[in-house]
Symmetry: C2
Subunit: 241 residues, 2 copies
Amino acid sequence: MQRDNGMGYRMDSETNKNAVVLLSGGLDSATVLAIATAEGFRCHAISFRYGQRHERELEAAAQVAEAIGTVEHVVVDIDLAAFGGSALTADMEVPKHDTVEEIGDGIPVTYVPARNTIFLSMALAFAETRSVGHIFIGVNALDYSGYPDCRPEFIEAFQAVATLGTKAGNEIAAGIRIHAPLIHMGKADIITKGRELGVDYSITTSCYDPVGRLACGQCDACLLRRKGFRENGLEDPIDYQ
Amino acid sequence: MQRDNGMGYRMDSETNKNAVVLLSGGLDSATVLAIATAEGFRCHAISFRYGQRHERELEAAAQVAEAIGTVEHVVVDIDLAAFGGSALTADMEVPKHDTVEEIGDGIPVTYVPARNTIFLSMALAFAETRSVGHIFIGVNALDYSGYPDCRPEFIEAFQAVATLGTKAGNEIAAGIRIHAPLIHMGKADIITKGRELGVDYSITTSCYDPVGRLACGQCDACLLRRKGFRENGLEDPIDYQ
C-alpha cells in the first residue's frame, strides 16, 4: 500500500528502494555504495564540503559515484571549519606512525566534533525531501581510528532520532532506516566484499594528509587501509609518497 | 576537578557554566536565552542561515543576543534549501488561518525536514570545540505547530546521540547536556516567564511569512504568539500587517 506523505510525493517504506548513501570518496563509503546498489537500491549520494583540508576527497567521491552509478550526487556545504577544533579542518598536525600498532587508544585529534551526527542529520533531511526510506553510512568499529561516532551504539541512538524527529518517522510505518553494513567488519573483509562487487579502489582516497594525489602512508587512515590490503595479500592500487 | 579533554582546553561538566543557545530570533529562543543567562550560564548563541525565506529572523537574533548579552553570536550557513521540500525554504505558500483552532492536527508544510536534528548537531559540534557542557533549545510541545522534532521524546533521543557520538560524552563524566526548558510550557507561560526576566519581545519575530518588518498575523506562528499575549491580557509589542 502506498501513502501520501504530505510532501507532494508518495512513499512506502516497505517497498521503498531508494537510499541516501553518505559518500566520502574513501574505501569504506565506496564499498557501502556498491553494497546498497547490489541490494537493489537506487542510490542518492551525498558528500560534504565541510572545510576539510583535502578537496581531493570530493574529487574521489564524484569519481566513485560515477563509476558505481547513482541517481544523483549532491555536495552540500557545511562550515564546520568556522568552529575549528580538529586536525582535519583546522591548522593542526595530522599524527603519523610507522605501524598500525602505534595508533593510540584514545580519540585522536583528527576527530571532527559531532561530524557523523551532522552528516546523518543532513542525510535525514535529504532523505525526507526525496521520499527516501533508507540511509547508508560506511562507519565501522573494528579497524577504525577510535571515533565515538563510528560505534554501533551511536548508530542505534541516531536511529531513534531519525524515527522520532522526522515526518517520515511519524507518518510512515517504518520511518527512515539507517544501515551501517560495515559496522562489524574489519578492513580486510570490507576490501574482499568490495572486490566481489567490482569496486575500483584505485579511485578512492583515505589519507588524512595527502599531497596532491599522493597518500601519506602514515596517518591512521593510510595505515588501516594498507593493513587491509596486506591481509588480503593484495597491493593497494593507489599511489603513496 | 578539571580534566583536559584532549582538545587543547580544560573542561569539567559539573562546574561548566558555558552553554550554547540555539537562537532563532523568535519569542521562544529569546526566552530560553534569558533563562540560561539567569541561571548563570555564559551563553554562546548560534543561529543558522538555512535558506529560510525571511532574513528578518537573523536580524532579530542579532538584536536579541545584543540585548540579553552573550559571549558570542555565531551565524552558520547551512544550505537546506538545496534539498527543497518545505514552505519555509522552498517556493510554497505558507498556510494562513483566522484562529488558532483552525491549525490542523497533522504536520504542516512549514515543517523543515530534520531541522532541529541538524540544528542540534551543529550546536553539538560548536559546544565540543568551545568546551561547552550545555545546549539550550527553545522547543515546546504545547502551543506548537505539530513538528515531530519539538517533542520531549525527540529531545531525549538526541541526548543519547550527544552522549554517545561525541568525545565529550566519552571522556567527560556527564557529557554535553541538552536543556529544553520550555518543552512543557504553553505560550502564555513562556511570555510570563520572559517578562519576569526582562525580555524585550518587541525585537523578536515569529512570523513565517513577514512583509519587511510586519508579521502576517495569520500563519501558525503568529496565531500561537498572539494567543499567548492575549491569554496574558497583554498587547503583542510587534507590528502586524
